[in-house]
Amino acid sequence: MTREWKPRLVAFFCNWCTYTAADLAGVSRLKYAPNVRVIRLMCSGRIDPQFILEALAKGADGVLIGGCHPNDCHYVEGNYKMLRRFQLLKRMLQDMGIEEQRVRLEWISAAEGDKVRKVVNEMTEALQALGPLGLPGRFEEWDREVEHLAATVQEKEAAGCACGAPAEPRDTEVAHV
């Protein structure tokens, strides 16, 4: 890459509140960082933790989730259900050594165009400060490590070593979940 690195932020917005708020930000001509790419879902409840992991794995530096405020969900309580999953996911990301600020959940109502601007800008700034996450590159590295280990094991097995289990590939295990 020749160009200067810029944070890449993927956002999942619910159709009724946060996506509409982002539309409102547009209609109000508020200005915010261009680093965000929004994916629209009907409800934040639809967000599968895999979406967030996939985004990070495919090169996002951060993920933003936007849903309706508590009690305001168009589908009664999809946002709560998302919140429950989100707590678990946060713990898992922590275990993986991914900084907490990289994944953020915000309740943004249809009227809060300015909050979209504020949150996107804040997050962009935070990611800028954290630097690239670079998971795709790290995956390659881990893959190489695993291959190397596999090769070593094979070699040893071929050499008739009876020790069985290979040396512990500590980081790789978690990262490939």
Binding site: V10, T20, Y32, I39, M42, C43, G45, R46, M82
Partner: protein, 676 residues
Amino acid sequence: MAMEKQNQEPRIGFYVCHCGTNIAGMVDCAEVAHHVGTLPNVVMSKDYKYMCSDPGQELIQKDIAAHGLNRVVVASCSPLLHEHTFRGAVEKGGLNPFFFHMVNIREHDSWVHTDRQEATEKAKALAQAAIGRVAHHKALETKRVDINPTTLVVGAGIAGIHTAMTIANAGKQVVLVEREPTIGGHMAKFDKTFPTLDCAACILTPKMSAAGAHENIRLLSYSEVTKVDGFVGNYKVTIKRKPRYIDEEACIGCQDCIPACVFKTPKFADEFNEGLGKRRPVYIPFPQATPQIVAIDPNVCLNFKKGENGDRVVSDKCKKTCVEACGDKDAIDFTQTERFEEIEVGAIVVATGFQTYDATRSPSYGYGRYDNVYTALEIERLVNASGPTGGHVVMRDGKSEPKSVGIIHCVGSRDKKTNAWCSRVCCMYSMKLAHLLKEHTNAEIYNFYIDVRTPGKGYEEFYGKLLEEGVHFIRGRVGEVTDWAMTPEEEGKLVIRVEDTLAGMVRRIPVDMVVLATGLEPQKDAQDVRRLFNMSCGSEGFFLERHPKLAPVNTFSDGIYIAGACQGPKDIPDTVAQAGAAAAEVLALIDKGYVEQEPNTAFILEDECSGCKSCIPLCPYTAILFDEKTDKAWINEALCKGCGTCVGSCPSGSIVQNLFEDQEIFSEIEGVLAYD
């Protein structure tokens, strides 16, 4: 078969819209089209000035035929605005409308960014995501749902009454719910209306009684909506009927019970007269109240007096003389309790109105501190012939007429510390009150304004009339109203200190009476009402319309409409126009007889379901059932609303949401991140 054609290799057509300069001004559309043209499966890629125009839509249709397209992507404005338009175009071109995807590069891109290169890159990434996604799209059928032809109108001020009457006149059934004992709302309290000065009661009360008597309107006064279930066409609504301790069927409106009450003189603050007058525990808010049924206020009626332990103690002072007066009509029923009623309707119009700003929040103007500082609504009652003083403008001492009056505009309006918006009606009603006060008392009248806003038919002319009448207009927002005197002429008066900004000097003006033109704000329970009907509120708290220009009475919930000042401050003509618009929307819906539902429902891949049941409690609509025979879950499509919550949490990945399939979203993620 169409199905076969569409399952062939994707042949995608891509269009990027300039939207005049709205998009093209910040995004290099040609470059976006060029980039997308290089992506797999894309057979043609174009940029065009206005895709939503007829030629734009025809372009899509022609290309589908000419290039054998089986997928279409348009990058333009928000899908909430034009997704429907383009799906229609795709369908006209012979494809299933769901082989379409829309990319928002206006609201989410060109309008919010300032760097052309960055904005163009973002547009490319978003387009690339859509190209990846649309390849996975499937043909889907929309579902038709019948519409229940009965409509619920909530709130019976002028907006609700007009909506209900219009729908009822078209021969459809309406349930009109009002929480006060009478319908009429704020308008019933006004004396005259601007700029024509016709009497509010004269034009409103005939409409009120017509609504009350209409064969197609079921009027539920003193009632509130407490629960709303269902969706467009089929709402189930629970209504609380508050006890008025009167059998509505039996009461004939003779009002014999009122003078018969043991309270020989009225002694309780009369809400309808803004507390300036008094009423008895049994009362009718005003002579033309609709329905013509009295109510009993349990907070003051001796019959409901509570003992120290909270039990009801029937005071021996209450002789039940009202019951006696009612005689064999036997309409008074002290045993009444709250009742709940469930009704079914197809559409709902919310017309819950506004409340006026609480003037005690602006302490520098002395409301509540000085007797002769009034709110505008109090003056409406004071100048009204059926008001507490019979139309005599006397101050709170009950005898003296004001010789000078200061009317302060914009109290609780245009003020970031209270309400930031312009309330739209205060300039005009202040001038109306200035005219009426002058007519009644011949006092010197001073209007203190920031700007005089008269954008309505005949409004500016009314301003001219007031100037001719010699009413003073001083441009300046009043600093304070106090009662301390600097000069002999100020002794005993209220002194207004203000900069006369046009003269460029500070003035002190002593007056007898101060009128605060309080602004309009959302009802204090607007947030609860919003939740009840699944609507949104703007940041100021008024209900949010679906689109400020093109869908001003629609909300984000289909089948739920808004009318009148609950959507934002407005005067009577605008309120009535909006009420008519809401009625027209309702009638259009009922007349069509059905709605097409977005086919974004979820379904379970039976083979993959592990029968873990974890999805079942997640569904707020109880649409997921469990088949004990097969040990698998299944989704009742008729009940599914398409939120996708079950999909996001299925451990075995066996639930699929139409239009939001995992594969579609993964492609989108890949797409937004692929471009560099």
